[in-house]
Symmetry: C2
DNA sequence: CTGTTAGCGCATTCAG
DNA sequence: CTGAATGCGCTAACAG
């Protein structure tokens, strides 16, 4: 079958131990023998067996990254930057392979993939995207992570709320996105434009990201005396529609919002993808953006700047975060003090938001 | 350290071979012992060591997929569909982990990753996207693929020209995209609208996809008596600008096209991403789409339908192709007869193309 | 049906 | 500096 260390050793007239040594360059080897071995390696087109090496050395060449779906640019950008940092190109040798796992947002899939990665004794695991806010699931995930951590696997959370392993004092290394602050500033922007009836199309209710963004939105409203319990906040629930994170969710939610006839002059979407759906629905109903209704998204995905009108949104530096997560999981950079770093988000004001039309009729 | 097969065996009071058997379920085991073993496994939270298993059984749980960049939706969609088919969710057990490798279009990176995957004795490898048209590189890739194939790794090409291993009669399993036909129909569409001066912003000249699409474009022109050597084709080169596959390339190329002042009434872009850049540049110059200039893309990425005007483009069923590639690399479906299947592309006429403005001044 | 015995291919002691 | 010996954790014959 494939050529092995022993074959190379025979060819070079040395012991397999010596071949191993020149391959790994960890031990002193005479220049002449080294050369002889390297020639044999080249002549035989020898390629080490990673599995055998991993077994013997108790190491791994794999880094896992759990995403909802790589096809979603939000995750694609993170995964891409991460892979670039973890993979071969990354200056230093010892590049690792990136295993991308699409969980589709399913808690079971998440657990299954964590087990699979444990099976492979992955060198590191990065969990991205909002967590599913369920005690049962959190416990299960935490248990898996604890075992991974115990076996030496580096763990990094990216875009997830910090998590602390049972028995630990500091939380796991975490890059948290400032969803709350970004959402707050976004809604404040709309308020400052003069909007008072702001619709909100949220993401899946069970995801932590949804909760944080919604909380930021509410904080902004409360800051302007429009909190619950106030006159202005009386029918706040009517202004909120729950949906998914895809375009259709935005489309449908918008139709629902219009059906409720609550007089929205602006709509904030769970993310940019949803925002596109919102815009499409508005156009479909003959409403112009931002003439009749302002629209805002979240994430600042690449297509947002090219939409027309260009989307007002909140920028998350996904590539930077992904790259940093990659460096962290490779142990090439030190974890932030206290374990968790909050990644700042930035309000991007573009053409899709404007002052509300002056009251008429 | 971690709990091993032997630990489980001791705990269950059986031999490690028996534990292995119930784990793999390949051999008959008495119900009672099976149960005892399973209990021990659960109590000890045992997780098999994939590397040891792979070494002993000469199998692998990894499938590699080479892409230019997962962050590019073109590749993200393929990778996502592929992963879904290869991974855990996929009905049958034995789901494998997907290793995503961003080559960034670099031939060296491509070779390096192929070697890394060989090292891991990957069960399969999928190469996506256009190939780099260089004899030297093709030879090198072919050599790597030959060795992979020889060691039992399944190989699938997706969106790449078919390739035949030296000494083989049939080409490797390939899902080729009908770039030529799609491009031809797209240009014919523009011609039928009345356009005669059609600019073309191509992709990187060394990529096979670029060549095929450009050839389709030229075929359409030739079919309308506008081939090279004809009057209409006299300055054909002036209508073509080479660029990259990103948005900026489209932007810059369009400015160049306008600078040449060759009177284009329509511009065909290398792909949808480039087309967005083209639109942006036109708008930047005060030209309307499609009023002043029609624009068309290629690929039909998700954002294309949401651009405004919505982009006329050529649809490639990327997810279907990715899923099929996944099934092929898993050996769950038979290769197409002759090894290569050509995936049909479909012209999607939308708002960004219209008849040229009537001649004026 | 189940235990015993060998390796899988490599890294790593321990001698020399 | 180099070779011989041992074991990583598991599967796969081979006997019972």
């Amino acid at each position: 079958m494939a050529v092995t260390l022993a074959d190379v050793a025979a060819r070079a007239g040395v012991s397999s131990a010596t071949v191993s040594r020149v391959l790994n360059g960890n031990y002193p080897v005479a220049g002449s023998t080294r050369e002889r071995v390297q020639r044999a390696v080249a002549e035989l087109d020898y390629v080490v067996n990673g599995q055998a090496r991993a077994l013997a050395a108790a190491t791994s060449d794999l880094v896992g990254v759990l995403v909802n779906d790589v096809a979603d640019p939000f995750f694609g950008l993170i995964a891409s930057a991460l892979q670039a940092e973890v993979g071969v190109g990354a200056a230093e040798p010892g590049g690792k392979l990136t295993v991308v796992c699409n969980t589709g947002g399913s808690p079971e899939a998440e657990l299954t993939y964590l087990t699979l990665l444990e099976r492979q004794r992955a060198a590191g695991v990065v969990l991205t995207g909002g967590a599913v806010d369920s005690p049962a699931h959190s416990t299960a995930v935490l248990a898996r992570l604890a075992r991974l951590a115990a076996s030496g696997t580096r763990i990094v959370l990216c875009g997830r709320p910090a998590l602390t392993l049972p028995g630990e004092s500091a939380p796991l290394t975490t890059l948290a996105f400032d969803n709350h602050g970004g959402a707050r500033r976004l809604t404040e922007h709309l308020l400052s434009l003069g909007h008072r009836r702001i619709g909100y199309v949220t993401g899946p209710p069970e995801r932590s990201t949804t909760g944080h963004r919604l909380a930021g939105h509410r904080a902004a409203l409360a800051g302007h005396g429009m909190g619950p319990g106030t006159d202005a906040g009386a029918d706040a629930d009517q202004l909120i529609v729950h949906g998914g994170y895809d375009r259709n969710a935005g489309f449908d939610a918008t139709l629902e919002l219009l059906r409720r006839d609550v007089g929205v002059t602006a709509i904030v979407a769970a993310n940019d993808t949803v925002a596109l759906g919102v815009c499409a629905a508005l156009r479909d109903r003959g409403l112009s953006v931002p003439g009749d209704v302002s629209v805002a998204g979240f994430d600042d995905l690449p297509f947002s700047a090219d939409a027309s009108p260009a989307l007002t949104t909140v920028r998350i530096p996904l590539q930077e975060a992904g790259a940093r997560a990659g460096r962290l999981v490779m142990g090439r950079t030190a974890p932030p003090p206290g374990g968790v770093a909050t990644i700042a988000t930035e309000l991007m004001v573009r053409g899709s938001t404007a002052p509300p039309a002056t009251r008429r009729s």
